[in-house]
């Protein structure tokens, strides 16, 4: 598992990566009520705002963690955004991305570094 400073997690799945947000992030955001996912097949660049999420409190964006192509999105999450709160590392995943440059993954944090960052 890899982590970004924006509280996303990435888990290898074949030659793609499953991306979601951490429990720390969902706790800070509060109950999610709306998720807008990218199109499957979209080519995205690192730090593009590709997902809109709304909690009971506010809207925020989730950025592409690396350059790549979106290969799948979690339509169950769009139907029931609370999955991100109840199961952030499992059923609450957002999208799968196939990186164009896997070396970008080297810049991400491992679990120990992420845990240290959130204190």
């Amino acid at each position: 598992m890899k982590y970004t400073e924006e509280h996303e997690w990435l888990r290898a799945d074949g030659d793609a990566y499953v991306v979601g947000i951490t429990e720390h992030a969902t706790t800070q955001l509060g109950d999610l009520v709306f998720v807008e996912l990218p199109e499957v097949g979209a080519k995205v660049s690192k730090d593009d705002e590709i997902v809109v999420i709304e909690s009971v409190k506010a809207a925020s964006d989730i950025m592409a963690p690396v350059d790549g192509e979106i290969t799948e999105v979690n339509t169950d999450l769009a139907d029931d955004p609370s999955l991100a709160n109840s199961d952030p590392l499992g059923k609450g995943w957002f999208f799968k991305i196939k990186p164009t440059d896997t070396s970008q993954l080297d810049g991400l944090m491992d679990e120990a570094a992420y845990t240290a960052m959130i204190g």
């Binding site: 509060g30 109950d31 009520v33 709306f34 009971v56």
Partner: protein, 374 residues
């Protein structure tokens, strides 16, 4: 953060695991571990306990209740003189342009008027009252009392367990109850659309009372997040958002609070700031009105989202002043102001969200039926 004020229940909030945020100069709980959604739903189905000690509590005294009421009517365009003993009423302070300076609750407590005002406005409200009403009246801010709200269908049973007289009160009654051995000034009212009470009690006794209420398995502590979604579903205005100094009571749909006796042709007509403008609007109508708004789909539309009458029109005809997800109705809800010709319930408008125009239907308020004990 160091200069934020604390309410008498601050330590209890921390002990309950609240997430604290700055609000109107106070450090206040925005949510507890239960979370906004469940706190909201719990209040609608059981009961929620809110700390509203940041709000202003003011005693206004004259030679008699009637004297105090007569003078207060110089600032507030409602019928205070005719308010029955131990009864409460909604009102607002207006300005010379007819705008709303703050909204408030007024109670006839026998020999004085008890006023509850918004935290963010209380310093200005009290300064205005002192300037206009003294020396005819004395205006005293009550700073040694906490204010708690117990709201929801289980509120009556929970409070009546401490003093059975709570069950005898009707909606908008006020009474002095004995709660946990301490005198409490209680009204049967609130800001959620549910049955419930607001309880003013000496600060030193506030935490013990809160703990006694929270001892009931039906009562959960509720933060400002759910307070906002509850009042929004109930169609109740939030000052500084749905009401402000440039919005008149008539535009806000609050003319019902200005009774016949304060209107043109009656014996206590006018006599409050902005009377000419407000009474003229009551007779001749307004060009914009507050409405309920239901965005289609799941995306919440929040304060500031502009509204258009067509997908391709250039000029907005209004905007949201409040909005978010309504946990009880299970969809986004909001309110805002639109040009009068677009204010009819059922009208389709378009809200612009992240560059896209999405349909919004004008709707009747409230979104959830009021559940008061009449």
């Amino acid at each position: 953060m160091t200069d934020l004020k604390h309410t008498p229940l601050h330590a209890l909030h921390i002990a309950q695991g609240a997430k604290m945020v700055p609000f109107a100069g106070y450090e206040m709980p925005v949510q507890y571990p239960l979370g906004v959604m469940k706190e909201h739903l719990h209040t609608r189905t059981k009961a929620g306990l809110f700390d509203v000690s940041h709000m202003g509590q003011v005693v206004v005294r004259g030679e008699s209740y009637e004297a105090a009421a007569q003078h207060l009517e110089r600032l507030v365009p409602v019928d205070i003189v005719g308010l029955g003993r131990n009864r409460q009423r909604y009102g607002f302070f207006t300005n010379e342009d007819g705008g709303i300076e703050d909204d408030l609750m007024l109670a006839n407590r026998g020999d004085h008027v008890f006023v509850v005002v918004n935290a963010a406005c209380k310093a200005a409200d009290i300064a205005t009252m002192k300037e206009v009403l003294e020396p005819d009246l004395t205006v005293t801010e009550i700073t040694d009392r906490a204010l708690l709200a117990l709201q929801g269908p289980a509120a009556e049973r929970v409070l009546a367990a401490l003093d059975p007289k709570a069950a005898d009160m009707s909606f908008m009654d006020v009474a002095t109850l004995d709660l946990n051995g301490t005198e409490a000034w209680v009204s049967r009212s609130g800001y959620t659309g549910e049955d419930g009470y607001e309880i003013s009690i000496l600060a030193d006794s506030g935490e013990a009372l809160a703990r006694a209420l929270l001892d009931s398995p039906d009562v959960e502590p509720i933060g400002l997040g759910a307070r906002d979604s509850l009042r929004l579903e109930a169609g109740l205005c939030l000052y500084g958002h749905d009401l402000d100094a440039t919005t008149t009571p008539v535009e806000a749909g609050l003319a019902w609070a200005i009774p016949r006796v304060r209107r043109i042709g009656d014996n206590r007509a006018g006599g409050f700031p902005g009377a000419d403008q407000i009474l003229h609007q009551i007779e001749h109508g307004v060009t914009r009105e507050r409405v309920g708004l239901l965005p289609e789909g799941r995306a919440p539309m929040r304060e500031g989202v502009p509204l258009f009458d067509a997908e391709d029109s250039e000029e907005p005809i209004g905007s949201f002043t409040s909005g978010g997800f309504g946990p009880t109705v299970g969809r986004p809800v909001g309110m805002g102001y639109v040009a009068t010709e677009h204010a009819r319930p059922g009208t389709t408008l378009y809200g612009e969200l992240r560059g896209k125009r999405l349909p919004v239907t004008v709707a009747k308020l409230p979104f959830t039926p009021a559940n008061f004990k009449r």
